[in-house]
Symmetry: C2
């Protein structure tokens, strides 16, 4: 028998700064250096930032080919990945060059996976423009595409070399996308950081209303803290070998809710509803107080996120829990708050029977009505 | 700026033993353990070993789904990879389960890449049945598929957890496949091990004629030594970050020869011709003696491998050298023998001008005729 042992070290940086596309900024020159780059973006991002980007590249003297592609959820496919790889070949990207994804989650997913596969792996830079991209999805190692009707069926854990973010890109986001992205900030605050949670209680509304411009002094610190918390979780478990992940808070029932609503609910909205239900389960199991649950529902409500929906039924939640057990190696690992800023796990599937799920749904509806002062189950289309 | 640093350790084993599919062998039980496995194989391998494999699985008590797929060069596609991934999902392969490729190079490539992508990466075992698979292609980290008319356009460097090989599988190989696989043994011997080269001179013919059964005492040691040498090279450079690779001997001109011949030449035959031409260049540049070159051409001839072909022309070799420069980060890095069992690099493209290539082609033809005692340029179809 012959054995071979190796280690592969990797590191990546997340740079959050204003003015990445200012002609005077060193950000692009520092990121790309003397390599050839292919940057892939979407029509919407090109409309807002295409001209600034071209000017910034010219000022930085970097060698960049720009491609605009429609990359929305229905283009999150291996065909799109192969299209980006073919484009990379046609513009002469070599094994030491770099692919850049500038846009939302689908753009960074598709470009990341293309970089993982092109010439057996080239460098990748992500420039996420959405809030969820900047604080959550864009800063991990994960990439994926849908295949055979299965969401994220194929993908990789490969680190980008750099995630380059500018909070001013958030000013062109639709309000609903900002609210949805905020669900991930609430998530990480809930499980790790009471101070961040209190900051969201204080300024979340204003940030949503001002498209992340006001209060100005809070924008960078709030994003930086959210990112730092995500990276701390990532550092401990970059390849998800451990299946007890605090960042799965709000991510047990939400995949089923997204699918059941035929994606009328955004990811963030489904996560918000899941967090409210998981919190109610935690109240019933005695992990968190009802007063703390009130604060969670209140902050989600203030951010304009839903906490109830008619799509959430006991059979749907039960099926989602079963799928989570299959996905998490036989354990449920439902993340539940144990206070504001701390969380734990409900590990066994049989701890959340149908009666408990029934009761949780009724309780979250009652709490939502009481906290928000309006009837729950707002029709999803009105969100 | 936030930074994240990680290391990912990996190791893989190569087990070469007789009787892997004997019901009494512990090999399969040891390899698969209590995981669920999907094994993908080809109609030809299933015909030879399907029954034995099923019996061995039953005896070992392992939980294996067997799928038979046509996996030849034209199926070396992302579609085939996605097909294997869909199959894995349909038979319930979880993130801690395993995919197994049992067959030739395309089978192990496609299954390896499917394992790299399914659920963002699951374990992979390769069971290469061809000689080239057992000593070369099957034991590296590389996988790839063709795309957009480009050979191996998309792929990965991901280690399999185990390469499980049985030399008795070589008994059912067509003679031409055995001869072609031998080209890689000659390659590694030429650049690293004079003793292995001498062993091939002594018993190569007999091993080809007997389908790797005679001389029996030599079979395992010769394969083991070839594998050990390949792994030594791999250990130093698993991700090909260094572009000066001794294992590229015979792999500078051969890709163009394979394509120019429309794959009438096998990979091993093209490698043999490349090695003969590279050796002639080394003679001209004074790196190796003409007597040593005679031994190289003689051993290839004895194994039934070609050393000349009408497809090898100066313009083709020049274009292949240019492609190598592009692929090797600007350096030619042509591997040339500096003796029997040692080699070096011709690093600069301008060291091999058209005159030198012309002269090398004429010289290899003359040497082949002298050493083999028959006219060179045997029509490829007669090989």
């Amino acid at each position: 028998m012959t054995e071979l042992h190796c280690e592969r070290a990797f590191g990546f940086r997340i740079c959050l700064e204003r003015g990445v596309l200012d002609p005077a900024s060193p950000a692009l020159a520092r990121a790309i250096g003397d390599r050839r780059a292919l940057i892939v973006t979407t029509p919407t991002v090109a409309m807002h930032y295409g001209t600034a980007f071209r000017r910034a590249c010219a000022a930085a003297g970097v060698d960049v080919a720009l491609a605009v592609r429609s990359l929305d959820e229905q283009h999150k496919t291996m065909d799109a990945v192969m299209g980006v790889a073919a484009l990379a070949r046609s513009v002469g990207i070599g094994r030491r060059d770099v692919l850049i994804g500038f846009g939302g989650g689908v753009t960074t997913d598709v470009v990341s996976l293309a970089a993982s596969l092109y010439r057996r792996g080239v460098a990748c830079i992500r420039m996420p423009t959405s809030l969820v991209g900047q604080v959550d999805a864009g800063i991990g190692l994960k990439s994926a595409v849908n295949a055979g009707g299965v969401k994220s069926a194929l993908g990789r854990f490969d680190p980008p070399e750099l995630v380059l973010e500018d909070p001013t890109w958030l000013t062109t986001l639709p309000a609903r996308a900002t609210r949805s992205g905020f669900a991930e900030i609430v998530k990480i605050a809930m499980v790790r950081d009471a101070a961040l949670f209190e900051l969201v209680e204080l300024v979340g509304c204003s940030l949503v209303a001002s498209q992340f411009t006001k209060p100005e002094a809070v924008v960078l610190p709030l994003l930086e803290r959210s990112i730092e918390l995500m990276v701390t979780e990532l550092r401990q478990n970059p390849f998800e070998e451990c299946l007890e992940r605090l960042v799965d808070f709000g991510h047990t029932f939400s995949p089923a809710l997204e699918i059941e609503s035929a994606h009328v609910l955004t990811h963030g909205e489904a996560v918000a509803i899941d967090m409210a239900i998981s919190t109610e389960i935690a109240v019933i199991l005695g992990h968190v107080t009802s007063a703390e649950a009130d604060r969670i529902v209140a902050v989600l409500h203030a951010l304009g996120l839903p906490t109830t929906t008619a799509w959430a039924t006991t059979p749907l939640l039960a099926a989602a829990a079963d799928a989570a057990v299959a996905h998490r190696g036989g354990a449920l690992n439902l993340v539940v708050p144990t206070g504001i800023g701390t969380a734990g796990f409900v590990r066994e599937r049989d701890e959340i029977g149908s009666d408990l799920l029934d009761f949780s749904l009724a309780a979250v509806t009652a709490r939502t009505e009481r906290v928000s002062g309006r009837p729950a189950h707002v029709p999803a289309r009105a969100l």
